[in-house]
Structures are given as C-alpha cells and as structure tokens.
Amino acid sequence: MNSLGEAFAAAWRLLAGFDADLAQVVGLSLQVSITAVLIATLIGLPLGATIAVERFRGRQTLIVLLNALMGLPPVVVGLLVYLLLSRAGPLGGLGILFTPQAMIIAQTVLIAPIIAALSRQTLEDAWREYEEQLRSLGARRLTAGMTLIWDTRFSLLTIVLAGFGRAIAEVGAVMIVGGNIDGVTRVMTTTIALETSKGDLPLALGLGIVLISLVVALNALVAIIREAAMRRYG
C-alpha cells in the first residue's frame, strides 16, 4: 500500500511538472492510437455496414471470423507485423520498422476487426428496424447504409471509443514493431513496461495513473459532446 501512495505522489509530480519527456511520450501515444483508430474506422465501418446490409455466400463465416479476430492478442499482431515489415520480410523495402508508422499499422490491424464486428452488429440491428421504411421511402443500398450509420452514430461513437481504448492500452504490438526507442517510438505503455523492468515501480504506477486519467478525460469529453448532441437530435 505504501507503493500506491508513492505512485500517486509520482503521478502528481509528473503531471504538475509538465515534464518534457512525459509530454513527448503522451503526445506520441495519442498520435499513434488516434491515427490508428481513425484508419481502422475508415476500414472497419464500411466493412461492417456492407456485411450488415448485404446478403452473400460466406456471410456467416465472415461474421464468425470477424468476431473471433476481436480477440487477436496484441503481441501476436506485433510479431506478424514485425515479420511483414522486417528487412527480411515482404514489405522490408518500405523501411518503416521501428518507426511510429509501423506502430500505427500494428494498432490498426488490432482494432479494425473490433470496429468492423461491433459496427456490423449495431448496423444489422438497426437495419432490421429501418429496412422496410427506408426501402419504402426510396433509399437505395448506399444511401440506406449512410442513413443507418448517421442514425446509429452514438452507438458507433462508443464503438470507436472502445477501439481507441484497446489501442492506447496495449503494449505487445507497439513494443515489438516500435522497439521502444527513446524519443522516437516510446509511448506510455512501453515506458511503463520499461520503468517496471528497471524496478522503479512507483514511477511506473504513476505513469499508469496518468494514462488512465487521460483515457477517462477523453471519455468524459465525448460523453459531454454526446449529451449535447442527443438533446438536439433525440
């Protein structure tokens, strides 16, 4: 329990001191995970919408596969992306191993299935409710899909937040493909792992508290925006 007290003290010192290193690490964490969640949404949302609305052979298999991929272990994703981007691998020519781009790619691979699978479920439920009315009003597939996405935007926003949460919290993927290079690919989670391995547990825990506070603050912000929007649109 003493370490917990030390940890809170360490967290407070970190936040109050606006430590330049900490700012850089936090900034990179946000840059990597936010970019990853944006790209994952651009890929996962249309995919989820298409599967929700269309009927085609192999649809059920695809749904089961997507759902299963939600549980991809981050460290395995990291290893796979590493093998892909390594100089000895197929995409080695790009030379992006041990850079933030590699980290973004790994996190995108990790959370795109989450966004696709969960949005598929949300949109399929919505389609069941809306299908007849939308078709009656003359909406074709693409328009209907976009209307569904707009109408379920609050649920979809929660899904995007879930994806972001998973991305910013993981360490396995970014550690392997990023290499935890000081000043270049070091993010909050890899710093926590590093400080733990150096035995500086209060600092590691303090950083953990900073990370959690960041995520809570972000969620609170989104909740406020959502409240305001719901009051306007119902």
Binding site: L42, I43, P100, N180
Partner: protein, 279 residues
Amino acid sequence: MAIVRRAIVRGAMLALTLCGVLTGPVAWAQQKFITVASTTSTENSGLFKHILPLFKTKTGIDVRVVAQGTGQALDTGKRGDADVVFVHDRVKELAMVKEGAFVNRHDVMYNDFVVVGPKADPAEVGGGKDVVAALKKIAGTKAPFASRGDKSGTHAAELRLWQESGIDPVDGKGGWYRETGSGMGATLNTASGMNAYSLTDRGTWLSFKNRGDLVIVVEGDRKLFNQYGIMLVNPARHAHVKKESGQMFIDWVVSAEGQKAIADYKINGQPLFFPNAGR
C-alpha cells in the same frame, strides 16, 4: 462478395493516404539516423542516455537504440533491421562474424556480473570471491535462484558458470531454480519478491530501485567479467545498411573520446563500465 472487396479497397486506399499524411512530417524530420540493436541491460543502465548526445553533437547523427535481449538483438542485426549491433556475448558474436552476418567487430568495454541474494543468506555465500563455489553451495542448500532463462548474454554467462560448477540447474527447475524468461529488471523484481539469489550485471543492479532485502553477496571473480562488443551488419548482405554512419559510430565508440565517455558514466560516483577497446 465483390461489394465487400470494393468497400475494403476504398477504405484501405483512404487509410494509407491518411497514414502517410499524418505521420509523414515526423519521418522526414529524422533522416540522419542509424539503428543500433543493443540489450535491455545496457539500455536500462542509462549508458546510452549519457554517451549518445555526445556523438550527436559531434556528428549530427541520431542513434536510435532498440533494446532487446541479446539473442533477439543478434537476430535483428542478422535480418538487416538494424545497422549496428552492440551486445555482450563474445562467443556468439564471433561465430556470427565468421558466418558472415556481421563485419568489423571490436571489443568496447566490460562490466562485471555480481551475485545478489537475501540479507539472511541461507546458502552462506556472502563476502565470497569464488562464484563457482558459491553456486555449488546455493544448489547444495537448494536456496531459491532466479534465472533470466531468455538466451540473453547474462543467461549464457550464468549457464557457463553452472557448467563449470558441475551442476545442472535443470534438475531444480520449478523448485529452487526459477526461470523467468524475461529481462534483467523483471528477473530482479522476481528475485526480490521471492528473496532468491540471482546473477545480474552491476549496471542494472546499481540503477535497480526495487531491491527489497537483496544485497550483493559475491563479486570480483574474474569469471564474472562481461565483455561487450560492437559490430556492423554486413552491408554485402543488406544493401540498405547505413554503413558510413554506422562505421562512424563504431569508430567513435572505440576511439579515445568514446572510451572516455564510457568511463565517465557513473552512478553514485561508481563507474559501471570499464572501456577496453583495442586492448
């Protein structure tokens, strides 16, 4: 299915554009750099934070250190994912130079290992100067021992010492001999939590903050010396290796200037590494 494919392609194209746009500026800013694969113990000791800025001031080259276990660092170099490798397993390094994965190997520095253990010292090895004898005693009393078990340089050194003592610790695996399969810090955390003996490099120990009841029990034995080497990834095998900048770093590290920088790195007034290039 064609509709699904179209949706994916459209999304992916947009995604790649975004990826480039959002992170492009970051990549462009750091063109002059080399990647050095080294070990977690070296990184954790803080040596790089001390000497790399000096190199950057002199040459303008950014040195990006990827810290992994020795085995992984050597593999990273072999694959061509780094330009220079800086580890401490002389036997393996020389073998891989012979095999052609690396070139231009130089000795750089050495540090020593120490045996740490609980203050209570159940195996009664405290104050000793003979590490092999100490290991025999630890195995004899079946006192708990935490090993890295991760094919690192430290792990390799530990196994060589067990071999010399004539004891195969595998017999005690799961009992008094615990393999953590992780880095030095994590292993020390485990040792601290279990009040176990362990073999660690002095550098990690000096900056380790979670000692619990552990203290140094055996040190100074010549057999505990740990030699570091630096080498260039063979550019004949990997055309993209930054051989000029990489060689500049190697040359600097073994030069009088670099060697002095290493010797100047101290924790609590104590040096961690002893430069011995070209000796």
